[in-house]
């Protein structure tokens, strides 16, 4: 290990720099959370007092409940649909169809070169009923529309898992003991990509609950999500918006931490 070449832990400025980085990462979240519980915060560095009034007022607002439910429906819907269609395609591409695999590799990278606002324009053109299909204004356009945006979040980690095992030998060994292709896929290949799958699930959920461009341009007030609701609130008091942002953040943080913790535990057990 090259660690012996490095300075000992104590007195190592690396800790200080990483510490500062983590603090800076969390700073915006802390600012919003403080603002959500501030009585008055104007012209001072820190709030002058704290209250739960804003939080209670938002929780009593039926529009908040509605937006929260909408966001959760879309986030879970998009995560489930994207996993069901994306993961099998990645597995058969890697194991049986190299040409398909190459195409998938290019198609999942495409959204990096094509901004969401551009795709939103195209979806607006196609699914507003001009061609007999009316998806815009319904949650379906978001659930299906998020699949291409999040496909790379499954593709990259799952491919990394697949490259670490020798798929060809496993399939041949499976044939030798008389296992069917489906059985090999479900009982051997799928379990070996669970880590990548978990990362993909978390990142797709985070994407779907954080997305604003599609939600605002394609659906807007017809099925308002948390992000759209924040945009509506911004005309009013910043305190109310802060409460909504804090709730959104807690959902994303709790889920990510739970999944990462579960993954780390699995690894430790092995």
């Amino acid at each position: 290990m090259s660690r012996t070449l490095r300075k000992p832990i104590l007195g190592n400025p690396a800790w200080l720099i990483i510490g500062v980085f983590v603090v800076l990462q969390l700073l915006p979240v802390a600012a919003v959370a403080l603002n959500a519980f501030a009585t008055d915060w104007n012209g001072t560095v820190l709030p002058s007092g704290f209250t739960t009034d804003w939080a209670l007022r938002i929780f009593a607002d039926p529009r908040f409940d509605q937006a929260l439910v909408h966001s959760l429906v879309i986030a879970f819907g998009a995560t489930v649909v994207s996993a069901l269609v994306t993961v099998p395609a990645i597995l058969v591409g890697h194991c049986y169809l190299p040409l398909l695999d190459r195409w998938l590799g290019a198609l999942v990278i495409l959204p990096y070169a094509v901004p969401g606002v551009v795709l939103a324009l195209g979806l607006l053109r196609i699914y507003s009923g001009q061609y007999g299909i009316q998806l815009n204004g319904t949650p379906l356009i978001l659930i299906f529309g998020y699949v291409p945006l999040g496909a790379s979040f499954y593709y990259v980690p799952i491919k990394n898992n697949l490259r670490a095992i020798t798929v060809k030998d496993i399939i041949e060994a499976g044939y030798l003991v008389g296992a069917s292709d489906l059985a090999i896929m479900v009982r051997v290949i799928l379990p070996s990509v669970l880590r990548g799958l978990a990362i993909g699930l978390v990142m797709n959920f985070t994407l779907a609950i954080s997305e604003f461009v599609y939600a605002n341009l394609l659906v807007g007030g017809l099925y308002p999500t948390l992000q759209v609701f924040m945009n509506v609130l911004r005309e009013g008091s910043g305190r109310l918006t802060s409460v909504v942002v804090t709730v959104y953040f807690i959902i994303v943080w709790a889920l990510s931490t739970a999944v990462i913790a579960a993954l780390t535990e699995r690894k430790d057990k092995k």
Binding site: L34, I109, D181, Q227
Partner: protein, 275 residues
């Protein structure tokens, strides 16, 4: 593996291919096709209008500059941070990477709002920095504000992208360099950076494309006030006053062309290198 197995295997990929076509390829083609339409048939007039308009050229320039500057900041800060992170215990690495993942998704309205609280006209940090005499005033609703907010996202995204590729600098490489008496500086200049060059360039291009395409964060922070390509597209597509859908399509097509060039070049370069 016989052809029947392959055909069956392909069936499992059909739903994804169908969705990718309907919700990724088709909208893109629709945008490109509509950008060439006018009431009288095919035309390039929308492109002529954009290229001859100082306002729209300026939008591309501003987007380009903000994206280039924040991508350089992103890679420049993330490389030392990711490198230091390698020396940390595994648990801490997980925590930092988890926060980077959440942080790089903490975009749009929540992010803009957080920065307004901190750096708005009477934000905590505006006040602190003014008290310390470091700044006179800071306007978050400006190009400078956009650079600050984008940089926050870009650094975290770059840490996520660069951290795995630093594994290429194995302990053996570092030890060999130390054995021949290379200084830290010489090590990075002669060995480290050349090895990492492909991932540094790749990360830079992804960050650049990410910033060029950012709509939600900019919209939430400055509304229509900054002249960015994405904001112009959104305005032309959905704005009540300025609506001109075909011009929006032409702007969008140009933006995609600008972004496709570096992404394709980078992909082919990488392929050739590792083929």
């Amino acid at each position: 593996m016989n052809s029947k197995t392959r055909a069956l295997a392909f069936l499992f990929a059909v739903p994804l291919l169908l969705i990718l076509f309907l919700f990724e390829v088709a909208p893109l083609l629709a945008v490109a096709w509509n950008s060439l339409q006018s009431d009288d048939g095919m035309t390039l007039s929308h492109y002529v209008e954009i290229l001859s308009s100082g306002f729209h050229r300026n939008a591309f320039q501003t987007s380009f500059l903000i994206s280039a500057v924040t991508s350089i900041i992103g890679v420049g800060l993330a490389l030392p941070i990711a490198n230091l992170l390698r020396t940390m215990p595994g648990n801490l690495q997980q925590v930092v990477l988890t926060y980077s993942n959440i942080g790089s998704n903490f975009t749009g309205f929540p992010l803009a709002f957080a920065f307004i609280i901190m750096f708005g006209l009477s934000g905590s940090f505006t006040l602190l920095l003014a008290k310390a005499g470091l700044i006179d005033q800071f306007n978050i609703y400006s190009t400078g504000g956009l650079v600050l907010v984008y940089a926050y996202l870009q650094v975290q995204l770059a840490v996520l992208l660069l951290f795995p590729s630093l594994g290429a600098l194995t302990p053996e490489i570092e030890e060999s360099a130390a054995l021949v008496g290379a200084s830290r500086l010489a090590f990075w200049w002669r060995v480290g950076l050349p090895i990492l060059a492909p991932s540094l360039i790749g990360s830079f291009i992804l960050l650049f494309a990410n910033a060029m395409g950012t709509y939600a964060t900019a919209f939430a922070l400055v509304g229509g006030n900054a002249n960015l390509v994405t904001l112009r597209i959104g305005e032309l597509a959905a704005g009540d006053v300025f609506s001109d859908p075909q011009l929006a399509d032409a702007l969008a097509t140009l933006l995609v062309l600008v972004l496709t060039v570096p992404v394709v070049v980078e992909q082919t370069l990488l392929r050739r290198r590792y083929a």
